[in-house]
């Protein structure tokens, strides 16, 4: 049985958005499919800080811990997976508790984070969508893979710097 589920209104969607839904602590989070470079069993990478695949190196992190420092994914779980992600510029590997599903969703089914959320979470999440009668948070791929010591490029602070473009939809960054 295929992992991919079509969750779109029409039989032949024109502009679908592939999302990998994962479980991370108490949350269900989806990672844009365009940013996924590989999937590994976490138990096979437990004692590695970095993972190298096809000549590219991915620094490993815990996704639950990145979002909430008080939480971590379950260690040594047979269902745990490590997801290799890239936006074309930056790469990172994230441990998650388990893979739920790979779905195709219509962009019109994605709702933005309500404006009441005013903090850094606006940068962390690109929106929400319904899956199996529950809400799933879509993670912002650029935030997910950009090193934490890289400040997002903004016109007001980076006048004169040409923004970098990438296949992953990266707006722009510059190292500090």
């Amino acid at each position: 049985m295929s992992l991919l589920i079509h969750k779109s209104r029409s039989a032949a969607p024109k502009n679908v958005n592939q999302q990998l839904i994962v479980e991370c602590g108490p949350m269900r989070i989806s990672i844009p499919g365009k940013g996924i470079r590989g999937l590994l069993k976490t138990i096979e990478t437990t004692f590695q800080d970095t993972i190298t695949l096809l000549g590219e190196t991915y620094e490993k992190s815990d996704l639950a811990n990145r979002l909430d420092p008080t939480k971590t994914v379950a260690p040594f779980s047979s269902q745990g997976r490590t997801i290799l992600c890239s936006n074309g510029v930056w790469r990172k590997a994230y441990e998650v508790d388990r893979i739920i599903s790979l779905v195709e969703i219509d962009p019109s089914d994605i709702v933005p984070l309500p404006p009441h959320f005013r903090g850094a979470e606006r940068e962390w999440f690109a929106g929400l969508f319904f899956f199996e009668e529950a809400l799933v948070l879509i993670i912002n791929l650029d935030w997910l893979v950009t090193p934490t010591d890289v400040v997002p490029w903004r016109p007001e602070v980076g006048a004169g710097h040409a923004p970098l473009e990438s296949e992953g939809g990266l707006t722009s960054v510059f190292p500090v």
């Binding site: 909430d68 309500p114 009441h116 959320f117 005013r118 929400l128």
Partner: protein, 148 residues
């Protein structure tokens, strides 16, 4: 604005409907016009967040509602089960607030009985006397706003 007669002398008394609800056993009041409804507590998903007291969303049908954790702001614990959901008319849109299972009441009070504070706190805007007891009067449209 209602009119009342007192001691044969005509006076104009301004009245206001307030919603009185409880969170963790503590009562609060808010203007009726700031309450969109009271519903059963809906399904909720946590949202990692740095916005104070806003760290989950609920949904009703296809409507996504951010949740304001009023109990946490006032260091209260809701033990009544199942809780109710007060739909607050926040300035950014409807917000869900978890309240005790005791059904809120509507009460008509004199505006004069609402003691407004200095305005430094945009949420707790004053005290309202209900059943001879002062309770915090909240401005639900400003939930989450920091002190001035």
């Amino acid at each position: 604005m209602l009119q009342s007669q007192t001691s044969g002398k005509k006076t104009v008394v301004s009245k206001q409907w307030v919603t009185v609800f409880s969170v963790g056993g503590r009562r609060f009041a808010a203007g009726m016009e700031e309450v969109s409804g009271i519903v059963q507590w809906p399904s909720v998903v946590p949202v990692p967040s740095q916005t104070p007291f806003v760290n989950a969303v609920a949904w009703r049908g296809k409507e996504v509602l951010p949740i304001f954790d009023l109990a946490r702001q006032f260091h209260l614990i809701i033990e009544s089960d199942p809780p109710l959901c007060l739909l607050a008319k926040h300035e950014d849109g409807i917000m869900a607030v978890r309240i005790d299972s005791d059904m809120p009441i509507l009460q008509l009070v004199d505006r004069a009985s609402i003691q407004l504070s200095d305005g430094a706190d945009p949420v707790v805007v004053g005290k309202c006397t209900i059943d001879d007891q002062p309770i915090d009067f909240l401005c639900l449209s400003k939930l989450g706003k920091p002190l001035a």
